[in-house]
Symmetry: C2
Subunit: 329 residues, 2 copies
């Protein structure tokens, strides 16, 4: 089967591509495992994917909001579309038009390209904890209405509705996973308002300075990259008749306070790590992230077999094993 | 103040225009009553508005999804925009592209025209009970997530999110009222899937045949045109700081079964009316309307002073007084 992934150059895209190539199969239209024969990594930039035995892995340089390139990308033999391309939260807040173009128009344009096919491809995309903001219960029920407090969250909530309706119409077989804040992200800080949540572990563990812009008591709903990848594949592979009962899927994340993350950092990296952490409140960040909820009930997500991380210590350990860059090398 | 109304030729638009002209004022940017000096009725067709003492009432023939005509319509002195133009439910279901263009792109294009102003105009629009479908509680809580079962409902739910985010960004001072099914609509049946709910009263009371396509036990959440107009003006005039706490407003509607409507028809029109009613199940209608919820808690809507009708008998009486066409004339 041919699989197309947008945002294929992002950190989740890269990890998901590796996981798919290792696994070798994804569920096809009959809900049975099918061999992945072609994986197209689409992004704003040209990628140089590593070759893979028996799988054609290619790069496509595209703009997701451009109808022509999307219709060329989604060829008639495309069985699955995994849509990860997005403008992240602080960037979408700073540049409203860019966020609308990529996060809203891009999703719609890609759905339209799928609609033009003779069959309804599987369509997996991500939503976010950012669809919620403001006064909320401590643990948000599965059926709580989105209350976005920033444009990224509004665009993601609109994406959920679009995928739902395009699926109901039979244009795609859609599934949207509302991801927690993914911690610890590898690499450099990005323009997500939640970027600090990874930085406060990643940089100190790597012997670099990090700034924590929020207070220690703030709860945050997180998931490791490992669990996120497992849950993305799980969402992709869920049977069509199950997701038809509700296409927005809420996996169980882990609720921790920033202070608990720092305590785990101390356990993992000791004083050598902790000394690299500075506390400097940033109202811009607090205004965006402070409104995000600390937890979700995720009743249906658990029933459907989505997985949570065991602890913040396990999350940091996974980072050390998978992604930590040691400067001694 | 200059007020622009899209869908100004529709039945709600016409009634709302008359109500605004009778009232003479609407709340302005300072939340204080301001004299309405100009009322522009925008629609797909050219209207011939009745002249009004001291108020310039004009017609504008526009396509709401056309950016150029929207930017011409929303002149710099526009204080209020009332957006009623929409493709109704059965039509949006039959023609997906038309529904997306008018209901989604139209709302966004109009919001963009408002954003281009130096000030944030008041922006009132309608959402619908159709944002809900499927398995739902008997009385839907205020914070229940939309679960649209048709494209019209999805487009309205997206409109709620757009108005919310454009308001949060300070581009408009938005307010969205989720209207129940408006019963009894005057005039002819339309392409709304719920059109029958008016027909089963209107036609028999006027000595004409009507077909009821759903079963007597089906509950429906309704509001008279009189109450809808009062609630629209109330939503428009609510103070900015109140609506900022939640811009999707759910007025208390009346929950009745189709059978209860028919019993009230009997009380109002007797055997002469009842004999004009035929029962013929229509699966298309049942599939769309049958999924709509029968009731809402409307806790905040009541607190904010929105009004419900006293009874189905009062609703039919209002129709007789305001809109019934008697063929004896």
């Amino acid at each position: 089967m041919r699989v197309v992934m947008t945002g294929g150059g992002g950190f989740l895209g890269q990890k998901l591509a590796r996981a798919i190539l290792e696994k070798g199969t994804l569920n096809g239209p009959d809900d049975q495992p099918a061999k992945v024969t072609e994986l197209v990594l689409a992004d704003m930039v040209t990628l140089t994917p590593e070759p893979s035995d028996g799988v054609l892995v290619t790069s496509a340089k595209v703009d997701v909001s451009d109808a022509k390139s999307m219709s060329e990308l989604i060829t008639p033999d495309t069985a699955s579309v995994i849509h990860l391309a997005a403008v992240v939260s602080a960037q979408a807040e700073a540049d409203f038009d860019l966020g609308m173009r990529v996060n809203l128009d891009g999703t719609r344009t890609l759905l339209e390209a799928c609609r033009a096919l003779d069959h309804a491809p599987r369509f997996l995309t991500t939503s976010s904890v950012a669809v919620f903001g403001g006064d909320l219960p401590d643990a948000i029920p599965d059926d709580h209405a989105p209350t976005p407090g920033n444009s990224y969250g509004a665009q993601k909530a609109i994406g959920e509705l679009l995928v739902g309706d395009y699926s109901r119409k039979g244009f795609v077989d859609g599934r949207v996973i509302r991801l927690p804040t993914v911690v610890v992200r590898p690499g450099k800080p990005n323009a997500a308002a939640s970027s600090f949540a990874s930085s406060i572990v990643r940089e100190p563990m790597q012997g670099e300075e990090a700034i924590c812009p929020v207070e220690a008591g703030m709860p945050i709903w997180i998931m490791s990259p490992r669990a996120a990848i497992k849950n993305l594949i799980h969402a992709h592979d869920l049977p069509a008749d199950i997701v038809a009962k509700g296409r927005t899927l809420i996996p169980p994340g882990l609720t921790v306070t920033i202070g608990e993350i720092v305590e785990a950092l101390d356990r993992a990296g000791g004083e050598e790590a902790i000394q690299h952490l500075k506390w400097e409140p940033d109202l811009n960040i607090i205004n965006i992230v402070g409104g995000w909820p600390g937890g979700f009930e995720s009743v249906r997500g658990r029933e459907l077999g989505f997985q949570s991380d065991a602890s913040i210590d396990a999350i940091i350990q996974a980072f050390v094993e998978d992604d930590m860059v040691t400067h001694e090398e």
